[in-house]
Amino acid sequence: MTKGQAISLQKNDGGSLTAVRMGLGWQAAPRRGLFGSRTREIDLDASAVLFADKQPVDVVFFRHLVSDDGSVRHTGDNLVGGVGQGGDDEAILVDLARVPVHIDQIVFTVNSFTGQTFQEVQNAFCRLVDETNGQELARYTLAGGGAYTAQIMAKVHRVGGGWNMTALGTPANGRTFQDLMPAILPAL
């Protein structure tokens, strides 16, 4: 998936997706020179912001793991990454059928809580998975990361009766999602 590309979350057979998972995985980049084993720990955090009519209504992140309505759930904070060595280190589950009717956009973001830029992160990716069958719908790598500490990954938004996903990939800087609000708003 490339920046700006949009895919529909309607299934080919006409039914629509009921549950999707936004997975985030990463490993700390090994450092050059001596003491190469001393990779510093990098804490990336995945967040999801729920918008109704361009107003943020609820946020799911490591301090608020379940949206009040229960439709969006964070699987918990991972402070170091790399545990799955290719699997998701943090994941946000969205039960699309139970998202409150007024929520029309959900924006997924990634922040470096420990402050390292994405240059120091290796094998970082964000992917969207159909939770009901485990099939990967979209994958988006953070490779070639620049000197920034956050990225607005993607948004899932209502289109008619169903949902679409749009890859955003906008770089930004900030420690938590609050710092990203100015960068998110133009993408809505």
Binding site: A52, H64, D68, G70, R98, V99, P100, V101, H102
Partner: protein
């Protein structure tokens, strides 16, 4: 910023309440000495060691361990104390290392109570020494500092203490070695479990508490007390080694007996003493495949757990959470629709063009219909979820065991005195205005983690159907009796004892079923003398069990000691209570639950208004229940105000009397 100290270096301490963490890799003894301005130790009472672990502001471990955490409160130190030396020593006895030279360098760190390190020190360069002064905390011009000392002694503790100027150094060193050896001996067999043993205490963290932290919104609902989630079943699929079969009693009669340990040389039996089979639990019933396009048909017990009881318990809590969340979704959508319409109407009003012709009306209508549309959609989603939850409740309610079931459930007519305590008890029903007529069972873990307060005061938020205070008091006592009867019925014979204090005899009529059936050990205590006698008896019991537990000698309770859970029911508080009795009651409320003594107050808070804020902690510590429906309970997820209805016996039903008669029969047989 952590200061990594080297030998002799010092560092200021900004906090007075500290923790000193020691890790040595092998078991070591940790002790601390207090010194005056000149560094002199005045006597053995100035030394905290495994034989006398507590001094004002200081506590050390009773045993040798590889890791220690010493609590220090420098503010609590007597003014004459100017130095606190932290000592490490190798435990005596064969087999262990004899000098620090054969160990990796011990590491000590000073941390705040939040665990943030202030300073740390790795004691390097030790060789033949078997005791070492690790750190010194000392006063300098009114402030405390820490210094890395690292002074070792090849002569062990005796040499160390002698060097610090303690006259009885040799005797004390011997006493410490003795205490450590005893500690080692004590730690080999597993300490016998006590009556308040296992599950209940582990669950305390998620006890029903107004400070429930399960939800980020838990603290927002000032007036509501929160209902905690999954008791101890935080991880029902945890490792089988830890998972106790649900529903097995945590207070069984032989729990206070010494655990039979294998004699030396005999093969060790690794099987759980009371778990009959180690086979994995049967899989939960799974829903039959749903016809396409329709939600799966719900099944009772469709949740995780090691037994049907645990699965039903988790399923009920799952329904509770789902209803809380789906209602939150509905409410937030409606709020949003209202706010948006308001904004749009404001725009219409402020737009001069809207005053001409029908434009304004059209815009107004458009805004209103937009709101209607969104609210309808939200309502539709809510209805869909309510239908699903209603269908689930329809299959779950009939499947519930007696302890979880309504009084009108047929399971109560087939009641038999159980062999095991259930994991939870139903106190009533919960619902939200949107969810009517759906009811969620309100289940609390057993043994009770908090006392219960049946509020006989004027109902606060209800529409005044009942305003007669006598009627409320009668209903309060009636619902209390229903709760008591249920508690008695779900415990095995002789494992739950109820004491009733009814100083003025005002609850006599409602208490009649309990008195007449003979399930009480003694008739309700009346008058000030009766109050004092019952409180004295229970206070003594709490003291006794606490002492036994603290001394690690739960088996040393006097023979014939009644190990059952105790419930003290107090009607008409504070009638018949003097200051001494009130103090004792508060003591029981605080200390009782941990040792199996529980409290149920049937009271109007206003009656005790003379005590002022003195009793506030007592009321706050109890779970408030009302005799009539009232919306005062908050869920732990989003903090809705849930309407609570007590579990009452249907009018005209004799089920309570029948159940109590069986309980009484089993009691006489038991004793």
């Amino acid at each position: 910023m952590v200061a990594e100290l080297v030998r002799g270096q010092n560092h200021p301490l900004s906090q007075v309440r500290l923790e000193i963490r020691v890790s040595a890799g092998r078991p070591v003894v940790a002790a601390a000495t207090l010194g005056d301005e000149s560094g002199r130790i005045h006597g053995v009472e100035w030394v905290a060691h495994p034989g006398a672990p507590t001094l004002p502001g200081l506590e050390v471990s009773r045993q040798a361990a590889a890791d220690h955490r010493l609590a220090v409160d420098l503010d609590a130190m007597p003014a004459t104390v100017h130095r606190v030396d932290v000592l490490l020593a190798l435990p005596p006895g064969a087999g262990g290392p004899v000098s620090f030279g054969s160990l990796s360098a011990p590491f000590v760190a000073v941390t705040g109570l939040d665990g943030v390190e202030v300073a740390s020190y790795t004691i390097t360069g030790l060789d033949a020494e078997s005791a070492v002064v690790a750190l010194e905390l000392y006063r300098r011009q009114g402030a405390w500092k820490v210094r890395a000392v690292g002074q070792g002694y090849a002569g062990g503790l005796a040499a160390l203490l002698t060097d610090q100027g303690l006259p009885q150094a040799r005797q004390l060193a011997a006493a410490i070695d003795d205490a450590v050896a005893q500690g080692l001996a004590r730690s080999v067999p597993a300490p016998p479990r006590t009556a308040d043993g296992d599950r209940s205490r582990q669950a305390a963290a998620s006890a029903l508490g107004p400070d429930q932290s399960g939800s980020p919104h838990g603290a927002q609902q000032g007036g509501h007390s929160a209902v905690g989630p999954y008791g101890a079943v935080q991880n029902p699929q945890g490792s089988p080694g830890q998972g106790r079969p649900a529903g097995s009693p945590s207070a069984d009669p032989d729990a206070t007996q010494p655990t039979p340990t294998a004699s030396p040389g005999a093969p060790i039996d690794y099987s759980h003493p009371r778990r009959q089979n180690a086979a994995p639990p049967p899989p939960p019933p799974s829903a039959p495949p749903a016809p396409p396009g329709q939600p799966a048909r719900p099944v009772a017990g469709d949740a995780t757990g090691w037994s049907m009881e645990e699965r039903l318990y988790n399923q009920v809590w799952g329904m509770f959470e789902d209803l809380a969340r789906t209602t939150a979704a509905y409410r937030s959508a409606v709020d949003f629709a209202d706010a948006r319409m308001e904004k749009e109407l404001d725009q219409v009003l402020s737009d001069p063009r809207s005053r001409i012709g029908g434009q304004g009306d059209a815009a107004r209508e458009a805004a209103q219909s937009k709101r209607m549309q969104l609210v309808d959609q939200a309502r539709e989603a809510l209805e869909r979820d309510l239908v699903q939850l209603g269908a689930e409740a329809d299959v779950v309610e009939p499947a519930l065991p007696a302890a979880f079931a309504r009084w009108d459930n047929p399971v109560w007519h087939a009641y038999r005195v159980p062999m095991e305590m259930p994991m939870a008890l139903r106190l009533g029903d919960l619902h939200l205005p949107e969810s009517d007529p759906l009811r969620i069972p309100m289940l609390v873990r057993l043994p009770l983690e908090r006392g219960l307060w049946i509020d006989s005061g004027r109902p606060g938020s209800f529409d005044g159907a009942i305003v007669d205070s006598h009627e409320v008091r009668r209903l309060a006592m009636e619902s209390a009796v229903a709760h008591i009867a249920r508690l008695l019925a779900v415990h095995p014979a002789g494992e739950f004892t109820v004491h009733v204090v009814d100083p003025a005899g005002s609850g006599a009529r409602e208490l009649a079923p309990l008195v007449q059936s003979g399930v009480l050990t003694a008739p309700p205590a009346a008058g000030a003398a009766g109050v004092a006698a019952v409180l004295g008896q229970l206070t003594e019991r709490v003291d006794l069990v606490q002492m036994a537990v603290r001394a690690g000698a739960a088996d040393s309770l006097p023979p014939g000691f009644d190990t059952s859970q105790q419930l003290l029911v107090v009607n008409d508080f504070p009638h018949g209570f003097d200051d001494r009795a009130v103090t004792r009651l508060r003591y029981l409320a605080d200390e009782g639950p941990a040792v199996g003594v529980h409290l149920m107050m049937v009271a109007d808070r206003e009656d005790a208004g003379d005590y002022g804020p003195l009793l506030d902690p007592l009321w706050r510590g109890l779970l408030r229940l009302t005799p009539v429906a009232e919306d005062h309970l908050a869920d732990p997820w989003v903090g809705h105000a849930w309407t609570y209805e007590p579990a009452m016996v249907p009018p005209g039903s004799q089920v309570l009397q029948q159940v109590l008669a069986q309980v009484a029969r089993a009691r006489t047989k038991h004793s």
